[in-house]
């Protein structure tokens, strides 16, 4: 059994272990970090194959930077989210002009058919609404409300001040509310409204 498989070993300690030649550190780091960045890339790009490419590219950059990584200076997750955000932005710029309805739907094998239909409708509504936001607003909203990150970390990821992040997420939420207001009934949220 590997000593550093415990969850209390920090990400950057694992990265330093990897750089020192530890064979298990890469597997542990990948198991920890990949699901998060893959899901985030998928939410931004809406395409699993592209999200996988972005995630692999981001992890490759992490392996490359590992020997120069200075423990305690930055969080590995923050650094990775920033790389993913930049890679996604590049891809979105490249594919500008592609109709949003060509983006494939996510797969969900676990839920029942009824749940899938209901959730899909709501999820689609939110995805449609998110896709109408400016790119930076969308990223800030996703990082804050889906990834659950704090504003200081988002500020670091997006290379912004904390106040700018607060402003972006607040404007993003207001815009989402306005966009979704037209679909309130369809989503089943208007019945008890005064």
């Amino acid at each position: 059994m590997c000593v550093h498989s415990d969850m209390d070993v920090s990400d950057d300690a694992l990265l330093v272990l990897y750089a020192n030649g530890d064979a298990d550190a890469a597997r542990n780091l990948t198991s920890r970090l990949l699901p998060r960045i893959l899901a985030h890339a998928y939410r931004i790009l809406g395409d699993r194959s592209e999200a996988e490419d972005v995630s692999q590219d981001a992890m490759l950059r992490l392996w490359k930077i590992a020997p120069q990584w200075r423990q305690g200076e930055a969080q590995v997750t923050t650094w990775l989210y920033r790389v993913v955000a930049n890679l996604c932005t590049d891809r979105l710029r490249r594919r500008r002009g592609v109709a949003l309805d060509q983006i494939p739907e996510p797969e969900d094998d676990a839920a029942s058919v009824t749940d899938v239909m209901q959730n899909k409708s709501r999820g689609d509504a939110l995805k449609d609404a998110l896709s109408q936001l400016p790119e930076r607003q969308k990223q800030a909203v996703l990082l804050r409300h889906i990834e659950g990150l704090g504003n200081p970390e988002i500020a670091e990821i997006m290379n912004l001040g904390v106040e700018a992040v607060e402003s972006l997420t607040a404007r993003g939420k207001r815009a989402l509310t306005q966009i979704l207001a037209t679909r309130r009934e369809e989503l089943g949220y208007s019945d008890d409204r005064p």
Binding site: Y18, A19, N20, G21, D22, A23, A26, R27, T30, S31, L34, P35, L38, A39, Y42, R43, R48, A51, E52, S55, Q56, M59, L60, W63, K64, A66, P67, P106, D108, N119, K120, R122, G123, A125, L126, K127, H145, I146, K173, L176, T177, L180, R184, L187, Y189, R193
Partner: protein, 128 residues
């Protein structure tokens, strides 16, 4: 205010649902590709170990290297010889002559010592 709270509730519910819906489990193939990259990029542990176990150099070699190696040592030697030459050539002729004689031959002179070594007698030894 109630409307705002309700809007927030609706949005939070939608965020939660979207998160559930878009949770992605990495495929085995992706994991394998990433781990292959990691193995390829990982610094060679054997190389690291080899550099850790290299024998330490002796102190004199460390000092020798620290002052600049052979070029620095030859410079120091030249400066030392030049210093001796300048010092000798600057002495008065008599002293310089005696000094030169001391350096140049096997003859050793012990001149009269005024308050000699034994009972005030003076002596002179000359060897040649």
């Amino acid at each position: 205010m109630t409307d705002l709270n309700r809007d927030d509730d609706v949005l939070n519910t939608l965020f939660h649902e979207l998160k559930q819906q878009t949770t992605v489990i990495p495929s085995d193939d992706l994991m394998a590709r990433i781990l292959a990259d990691a193995a390829e990029m990982q610094p060679n542990p054997h190389a690291l170990m080899a550099s850790d176990t290299l024998p330490r150099r002796p102190l004199w070699q460390a000092v020798f290297a620290a002052i600049g190696g052979w070029p620095a040592v030859s410079g120091l030697a030249t400066a030392g010889i030049a210093g001796i030459w300048i010092g000798v050539s600057g002495l008065p002729d008599s002293v310089a002559g005696n000094f030169t004689a001391l350096l140049s031959g096997p003859e050793v002179y012990l001149y009269e010592l005024e308050d000699g070594l034994s009972g005030g007698s003076s002596f002179e030894i000359e060897e040649g």
